[in-house]
Symmetry: C2
Subunit: 316 residues, 2 copies
Amino acid sequence: MSLPYLKSLEAVDAALQAGSLKQAAAALSITPAAAGQRIKALEEFLGVDLLVRTRAGLRAAPELEGALPHLQRAFAELKLAADALDLQRTDEIRIAAVSDWADLWLTPRLAQFRARHPNVMFAINGAGDAPQRIGRVDCEVVFAPLEEKSTGRSPAGETDILFHDYLAPVGSPANERRVRASPDAERLEGFPLLHLDFYKDDAEALTWPDWIARYGGRFTAPERGIRFQRVTTALEAVRSDAGFVIAGLALLADHIARAEVSLPFPAAAGQWTAGAFQARYRPGALRKPAMRAFRKWLSAEAAASAERVAALVASH
Amino acid sequence: MSLPYLKSLEAVDAALQAGSLKQAAAALSITPAAAGQRIKALEEFLGVDLLVRTRAGLRAAPELEGALPHLQRAFAELKLAADALDLQRTDEIRIAAVSDWADLWLTPRLAQFRARHPNVMFAINGAGDAPQRIGRVDCEVVFAPLEEKSTGRSPAGETDILFHDYLAPVGSPANERRVRASPDAERLEGFPLLHLDFYKDDAEALTWPDWIARYGGRFTAPERGIRFQRVTTALEAVRSDAGFVIAGLALLADHIARAEVSLPFPAAAGQWTAGAFQARYRPGALRKPAMRAFRKWLSAEAAASAERVAALVASH
DNA sequence: ATCTCAATAAAGAAAAACTTTAGTATAGGG
DNA sequence: CCCTATACTAAAGTTTTTCTTTATTGAGAT
């Protein structure tokens, strides 16, 4: 028992509720012309005018009388159903992201997106202004090796590569000054080396032993020192002059720009990661306009960020 | 408050009611694949499974529980609304036709269409197997002058020209035989002339005075005699040997073929009408598949009929 | 009369929905 | 255990619907 003209009926209901096509159209987020077309299609099919257009607004035509109460109840119920399913709240974006990326990269930039899209709510790693709801996250951000397109079937959903990171030693400005004073050969002499595990699974991961071997002269037992799982905590340590750490500049670009941390050595003495930060979108998530906008924005911001790191590496 | 995924919700409701996608699809007159897609689209959008697919059929997923009663009520109400509007009965065709055409031409042929489309119901000029309903007729058949395409705007809706008619004297077979025996000059001598007003507004209308002047020799006061408004009644008069009438052969072709009436003179002694029988379809009416089929059939039948009259005129 | 606003018409563009074809899993029968 | 029938799913491509844009009409207000 297919029932055709669902959208026409919706428009009729909306028009009667709103009192004018224009307002009904606004309520349905379509143009007035489209609203008129929906209604007209049904009227033509039935060969009856369903709405009486009067100067004072719209009224139900007598032919509609029998159906109108049903219509109104039907759409009221549908609205309840939609609420129960959270169909309405299309303006919520749920993100699960590796927390360092979220804290260091996304959060500072997000204000900008939110300024442009004031009614989009976020839930990032469970926290945020969007209430907890049914359903999985819309977007997942990870640092991972690049997946071969051909490797099996893609895991359903689109994946954007945001940016690679660039690993290089980072220290506090104070420590940087001290290092600059030392001769090259023993420049790291006396500074504790901090180790960050965040990138350790990367195929091109740069460790202190690697770095020393390539650029660094002498240093006894470069593999020793405090290990950090998270970039954020390593960053805190560096800022309190605890030593140098090899970290990804992409996540720290802002801190470097604000001179909260600095590069003690030429940035060229570093290494691009093989993997990259990647955003994976749940299939279906991109149906929401808000998600499409977010994806576009995220990709653009990521590109800008990559650009900036590349410039930093080239110039420094 | 636009509510998206209306069709998805409809499919969910139908699937739960039917117990299987296949049956739901049948109920919605779509393919099972389409039904699955509708549901899947919504599930993806929400990021939740709404239906639990089990060997024993489909069940509502827990996530759906809150919404399900609303959904069911909503679609039940919609169905009521649709019934009230007769949205369902798509297989009814309402025709308003000039009654002579309906009685003499359409009705005899309609059986053939009905054989092909057994579940299409007709209401012709208010009578028929289709119940009385709201709304205007779907198709109007008139005998009228040809409208210039350019004359103003078309009166909304498509118009098909069915066939022109051919006016010529018609009589009963008995009278025909008697006429054939008479010499040409006084061949109409002694026969009452019957006058049919049906075609009188046509630009090329052929009347008895016209005919006598052109083909007929002498006849005193050819404009006198009984006048008939309708072809059917004139036909009755002719069949009871009341005299000769100038009538349209297109409507009488069957009667001529069955030798119920006959042409007392060569058919070439006649005149094509300027106007034609025309079918005007209400805008929107052709959305119904049944209407499209009817239109196609009607046009084909009309063409065949025109062909037949032309052959009759040429041969006789 | 002229202006403004809402509604309508028409055309083209965009998005949704559908069918087709092919493929996968599962239950029942040999 | 294997085969087959059945229901569902996936992907691709096509058709239909729906929407926006642009222009026009018509009614009421200035």
